[in-house]
Symmetry: C2
Subunit: 318 residues, 2 copies
Amino acid sequence: MGSGVSSEEERVLRLAARFGVAQPGVAMGIGDDAAVLEPPAGKRLVWTVDAQVEGVHFRREWLASLRDAGYRSFMAAASDVAAMGAEPWCALSGLELPAELGDDALDALTAGQRAAADELGTSIVGGNLSRGPALAITTTLLGTCEAPISRSGAQEGDGVWLAGPVGLAAAGLTALAAASTAPHLAAAIAAWRTPVARIRDGRALAGVAHAAIDVSDGLARDLGHVAAASGVRAVLDAELLLEHAGDTLARAAEAVGRAPLELLLYGGEDYALVAAAALPLPGFTRVGEIRRGAGLSLRTAGKETDLVPRGYDHFVTE
Amino acid sequence: MGSGVSSEEERVLRLAARFGVAQPGVAMGIGDDAAVLEPPAGKRLVWTVDAQVEGVHFRREWLASLRDAGYRSFMAAASDVAAMGAEPWCALSGLELPAELGDDALDALTAGQRAAADELGTSIVGGNLSRGPALAITTTLLGTCEAPISRSGAQEGDGVWLAGPVGLAAAGLTALAAASTAPHLAAAIAAWRTPVARIRDGRALAGVAHAAIDVSDGLARDLGHVAAASGVRAVLDAELLLEHAGDTLARAAEAVGRAPLELLLYGGEDYALVAAAALPLPGFTRVGEIRRGAGLSLRTAGKETDLVPRGYDHFVTE
């Protein structure tokens, strides 16, 4: 159909063809006023919504193609489900599309959404199409679980456990924003463009972790949320963090001229998981501990300094 | 707190204070990565997402205040739940806010969302805040029902049944867009600014209606969807439609210089319900019938003419 702009109805048909997959418990998918679901008996549902807006969360020139925008927006929403220790079940996709966005671009975008959904074993069962001044992708996901892990259960004596790279996506974003051609940036750019929601690591939280959150706005800020919600103090260990991050982050940080520890503490959008647990969590590395008190600190060579839990805020420029 | 712009975290606290209401089956609301729900046993869920974007769905000067934007966006999403014959259960609110939108404006907006949720006996249990180039409100709603009513079950011999005003909101929008000060427009302007999702009428569909849809894009277009999905032909009766609409629409149409029948067939955003059923539906008026065949026609003084199911399309200017 080329790069024209089809009507809304034709586009809904294209989306139905793209997304229409049988998923257990989905009685009706795309094509009616609402999707119809049969919730699994005896399980709880977790429910989240997340938006990625062009010019705010991404610029088109930072992407290999709009496929990345579709992929990463879906993964960002699914990461909230992972952080609750739940399995993604199904999703709705709300798209705001600028008038000039052609069918080819829309196809790339929805191919990315579909690829992400497939990787997580879930499917998109409906959505909404609207015109908008900028491309915006809103994903709402339902997940299922036995016992969700909240932010508020961290206990004195727990370890702070981390799964997945942190700071790498921020290095990638820095490189993309500067149009850097330095070497050693491929992993960082991939971390920003195509992050993966850590569903399997989230599953490991069940029955063990006392609290968890995904690292979307920066480790300091997100772990700060856990500490505040749990009424405890979190201590991060710089050496353990740097060891967890390894050479990949060190090289990327050098290539973009930033300190690895700054990227680790304040860089977001890797969608790592951080949890508080008394016992080891498979797939996680211990990077600190939970103490009595409030706030957040960093231990470097045995010395502790307070951390301000800053990170990305949509309404305050820091 | 005046008309400043608070940080994202402060705004989340304001939203938690605005929306935090106990709702049956909601184990955790605002403040974690996801809401946690306990679905009612033995029921099906219906799930919808809808967006209202400034400059596309509304202009700020057409509203009495941003309260209207919050209210009507919530009702538009809830109308999809009504059209399935379901009860709204709970909602998530995704807001894209321009940098200059102050806390007072946000408070007005969320007051409208809360008022709409209260009227429907539901609550907002979470959401997402993001910056955006234009104000956009994305509402995702879960509803519960025994047996959802789809668009695809209309049968030859069914009546076409209508609940609620149709065309009045389009008259109101015409008046607002022209900044008209003609008399007799109050009802039309209210119909556009503060439509109400017809949950009670939706409830009447259960076990009786063969198909239903809400009239968001115009009766011709939306009933056209039912005819196409059901593989039947729908016939609308002009006299019955005009009688159903009554003096309120006649006067509003005159005030804005448009034909009542044109508003009835092609005007959207009243969120009336239209259904196909063999038996009378309480609260609905019979305005036509379902025949063998395909497409849509209008009967005027005993003569039938084909109707093109046009109406609002986001990507084609008609």
